[in-house]
Symmetry: C2
DNA sequence: TTGGGTGCAAAGCGTTTGCAATAAT
DNA sequence: ATTATTGCAAACGCTTTGCACCCAA
């Protein structure tokens, strides 16, 4: 069985980067988690990893397509990319900031391929983000 | 005939804000333009408007739903929101950064309303952004 | 062994803020 | 006249960088 961490190690080596404790630690902080702010990640690993290194690791991970950033209101958050967890989208509550994930809607791919074709683009990636008011915030007011 | 600037003035007054030269200037810098970085806007109006004021105006505009921000790679860009120019989405070329707009795809609203319902969210807004390689960059390589 | 990776502290840069001057209603 | 708005310059906070040390291959 291949774990996500094996996949990470393989990916790093393939691109000529070392598999280090620092990189594994940051990866674990991201694994199986909702999108997190840089600050949350830094706090989570701060016992063993320096702030500057977190930035460097995230930079590298993004360059290698291991993490992706997501705009949540004014700030961005980070999460593992599609290869490391199933491709999905988000609904964000405008009131409490709660983030819920949902799977790729069925017809979306077809919809997007048509658009890309019309615009003469070769499609590489896409984001679909929804904002609204979540169930519990609807009750509150 | 009602121009976009009339609409802006009306919107400001309705919410209890003054219609000032500064706000009009920033608005004009945004009008009929592709998404711009904060820096581009600042440069464009710098003869008459101070940097700090641009930030304050953009803040206000965003709070009032007049502008929206858009994540383009690492940085964000700003453009007028749906009320001031037709609701639309973007395709961004990963190679040259060119941004092309396209209209709301036909079935998208229905698709999204179903998702929102399933997640018990009241839908308020959404973004759909595509990334790919544009026609002229496809030729280059 | 040796070149990439990391910690540390300092620098950089986009953004925000306090305050006095100015303009809008 | 009164209150909101703006310019200015300083402060702030997130992010990046230079350098010496350390560790993976």
């Amino acid at each position: 069985m291949t774990t996500a961490q094996d996949l990470l190690a393989h990916r790093l080596k393939k691109q000529g980067y070392s598999v280090t404790a620092t990189r594994l630690t940051v990866f674990k902080a991201l694994e199986n988690n909702d999108p997190q702010s840089m600050d949350e990640i830094i706090k989570k690993v701060s016992i063993s990893v320096n702030r500057a290194s977190v930035y460097r690791v995230i930079d590298l991970f993004e360059k290698l397509g291991i993490v992706q950033r997501l705009q949540i209101g004014w700030k961005y958050k980070l999460e593992l990319s599609n290869e490391f967890q199933e491709h999905h989208h988000h609904v964000i509550c405008l009131q409490c900031g709660k983030i819920t994930s949902f799977r790729e809607p069925e017809n979306l791919d077809y919809l997007l391929s048509k658009i890309a074709e019309r615009e003469s683009f070769v499609l590489k990636n896409h984001q679909l983000e929804l904002q609204g008011i979540c169930a519990s915030c609807q009750i509150k007011t």
